[in-house]
Amino acid sequence: MRYPKQIGRLSLPGRKVQLATVAMLMAATMAACGQDGGTEASAPKAPADIPELTKDPLTLSFIWFDWPPAKALEDFANAEYTKERSNVTIKVNTVPNANWHDAMFTQFAARKTDFDIPILDSQHIGEAVTNGNILDITDFVKKNIDVDAYNPYLLAAYGQFPQAETGQRDENASLYGLPLLGDTWTMIYRKDLIGDKPPQTWDEMIAVAEKCQTDNPGVSGLAFHQANGSDAAAVTYNTVNGVYGGKLWDSKTRKIEGVINDAAGQEAMDVLVNKMKPLTAAGSGNWFIDEVNAAVAQGKACIAFNWIAASGGLLDPKESTLGTTREEILEKLGFATLPKQKTDLVPLGGMGMHVSAYSPAAQQAEALNFMKWFEQADIQKKWAAAGGVPSRTDALESPEFLNAQPFNQVYADSVSRMRDMWNVPEYARLIDIENTNVNAALNGAKNPKDALNDIAKEQQGVLDSAGGKGGGGL
């Protein structure tokens, strides 16, 4: 049998279809070329007064990464906020930590979000503001929020852009967010192995961890973040860098090369890779929050460093081998502020809440109302009691907060010692460069000195190439 075979020119309908298809594609391409996102990006302004709120059922959606505070926030807000606004349901959508930035900014890129309140890391603010993704709430804050109730740096860190100097707030700068959850690193130590008194200096801490590891086979001296994803390894280096007197950059001149890799920076990298890394468990080169907690809970680490907001699970007897009750666990585990060395700096963690520029007006109004409600003194204390870390000074000093968890005092004592990273639009690339290089140094894939010099060179390249043409991002 011979198969039908088309020869010669297409019949008229065929050609018409082809022509129509080509025309349609060209039209679609041209139309798409024309919609580039419109005007120069800048954050739209929120009204100073909260617009009239809807009485219809409304779901206020947050986006955060998947960790215990996210669940705590949803439960807390649904229990408390609905007392005031019974038609509102709070939904905290979560994504894996490694996808957090992408999940928010891909939606921002589409100029359409399925969340109303993005919970941004403090370093994400620059990117979101520059691209016009979140509302400028300066006027709203002036009219509705008691800014004097906060440590100025906390208010600045979670909302101000351009970034504030460490420890300060520029009252003339605009605000784009308000604090949701404060956080910093705590040192978690085994009281039964190293004694009740925590090490006071970084050098002492390393010596104590070394002795503990030698005296207790099967237990590693240290456990800390080293992973390649998110900001894990980078925060670890930045912390040691700060403690040993290093700087991440000169924000005024936008200089990184020669700053992060100066003598103090090199010393910090040497301490991290050559003194601290040998005291960690084999294969811990991809550890982040959960893995460090697991090592502590299983009694496999003498001293560990982790974010305070992620430490609650350590006291759960169901997840720990250190005791059958919370009290038993607390007999073995101690929480302390980070040891000092040349400075007493600690990393600033935590996040602020912001309003998506692409949410419908009713949701934006509700989001502003939620923020105003959340920042009240009594609500902040209730949030503290529910497991949150507030930012208002009165809430931080309240018994509701200080007695809620054994590590809350650590946070209160650390507030004046905090330092943040770069809050610039190029943050995601800067952190990736630092993360991959520190991870490489920690896992023997790169010489520590080369890794630090590469960080300086590559990060400087990113800052210098901002606005350059072609090949950006490589």
């Binding site: 011979r2 039908p4 075979k5 020869i7 019949s11 309908p13 279809v17 298809t21 349609m24 594609l25 391409t29 798409a32 070329c33 580039d36 996102g37 419109g38 005007t39 120069e40 990006a41 490694a98 930035h101 992408d102 900014f105 891909t106 990117e127 691209n131 993704n133 992973a227 390649n228 994803g229 468990a281 084999a282 294969g283 811990s284 080169g285 991809n286 090592a295 496999k300 639009p425 190029e426 995601a428 690339r429 990736d432 991959t436 290089n437 991870n439 490489a440 920690l442 896992n443 023997g444 894939a445 790169k446 890794a451 990113v462 043409k469 072609g470 090949g471 950006g472 991002g473 490589l474």
Partner: protein, 316 residues
């Protein structure tokens, strides 16, 4: 029964379109229009989901456009392509990808064919064995990545536990430069060897039995039969399987993302993973589009060369 002359002429389609509509059908609805009506939904879907995005990406690849920054897309012409092709970072990722593709596909081909050959020689339980071997292929790569991540964990993973019970030391599978890429190859091989096995098994089953019978009569050895009958007949099919696997391996992303995040450092970062970072960390959409277009071009060129070799092999 008469031969359906009308559809076997040299101009069947034209004749078909000239055929009057069947009774009850509108006079304007010819076979030609009916054909267009039937295929247009699929065609439109294809145009919307594949062709248009490809053209759009092609356009963006010549610009400095950023999806988050917005603003007009300024033409930079071939600057993105030049930057990618001359970037040491890209060369490093290309080399990593090459090692991965060659390592994984070679291992999968050898193992897949061996398993298929052994299964084809069985008379009982062949179906059950084949089904069992296919299970890994049916799992999501993300799921596979997650459970292998636990199995390969240096502290509490089952692999190190087994090595420990044999008196061997702990291996840092995912955090050392020399083992991380091997681990990726092993996991990919675990999942995709069944694919090669399945295609090889189809080829082996299709080899005419009389060839083996004739060889047996000639007292040909097992090796001789394999070398002169089995392998030449299965080889073209196997090469197609290799092509599919190589293309898949070339664009590996999920296993890297779950198992190593490209680490330690960037030592297991493949080209696809790097494109993801360029596209979504810095949102350099223009560069990422050019990167993607280059990857597509490379795959098309290599696949074409490969197909030519395959056709030549068939002709021979």
């Amino acid at each position: 029964m008469s031969d359906p002359v009308s559809v076997t002429t040299d101009h069947p389609v034209r004749e078909a379109s000239a055929t009057p509509p069947a009774p009850g059908r509108s006079r304007h609805l010819s076979d030609r229009w009916l054909t267009v009506a039937f295929i247009s939904p699929a065609l439109l879907l294809l145009l919307a989901m594949s062709v248009f995005p490809l053209l759009w990406a092609l356009y963006l690849s010549f610009t400095d456009y950023s999806a988050t920054r917005g603003g007009p897309a300024t033409f930079v012409w071939f600057e993105n392509f030049t930057a990618i092709l001359t970037s040491a970072q890209v060369h490093l990722r290309a080399f990593t990808t090459l090692i991965y593709v060659v390592g994984a596909v070679t291992l999968q081909t050898v193992l897949g064919f061996s398993i298929a050959y052994l299964i084809s020689r069985r008379t009982h339980g062949r179906g059950l064995l084949t089904t069992l071997f296919l299970v890994p292929m049916m799992l999501s790569p993300v799921v596979v990545g997650l459970f292998w991540r636990f199995m390969l964990d240096a502290q509490f993973g089952v692999i190190n536990s087994m090595l420990g019970s044999l008196g061997l030391g702990q291996v840092e599978w995912l955090t050392r430069q020399n083992t991380a890429l091997i681990s990726l190859i092993v996991v990919d091989t675990w999942q995709w060897t069944p694919f090669i096995m399945l295609i090889a098994l189809a080829g082996l089953t299709a080899v005419p039995k009389y060839l083996y019978e004739a060889a047996s009569i000639d007292r040909a050895s097992e090796w001789f039969r394999f070398r002169t009958i089995t392998l030449p007949l299965v080889w073209p099919l196997l090469l197609i399987a290799v092509l599919f696997r190589a293309i898949e391996a070339f664009r590996l992303f999920d296993l890297v993302y779950i198992l190593t995040s490209g680490g330690p450092g960037v030592s297991t970062e493949t080209l696809s993973f790097h494109v993801y970072k360029v596209a979504f960390l810095g949102f350099n959409t223009g560069t990422a589009s050019a990167y993607g277009i280059l990857m597509v071009v490379i795959v098309i060129v290599l696949a074409q060369l490969y197909m030519r070799y395959l056709n030549k092999l068939k002709e021979d």
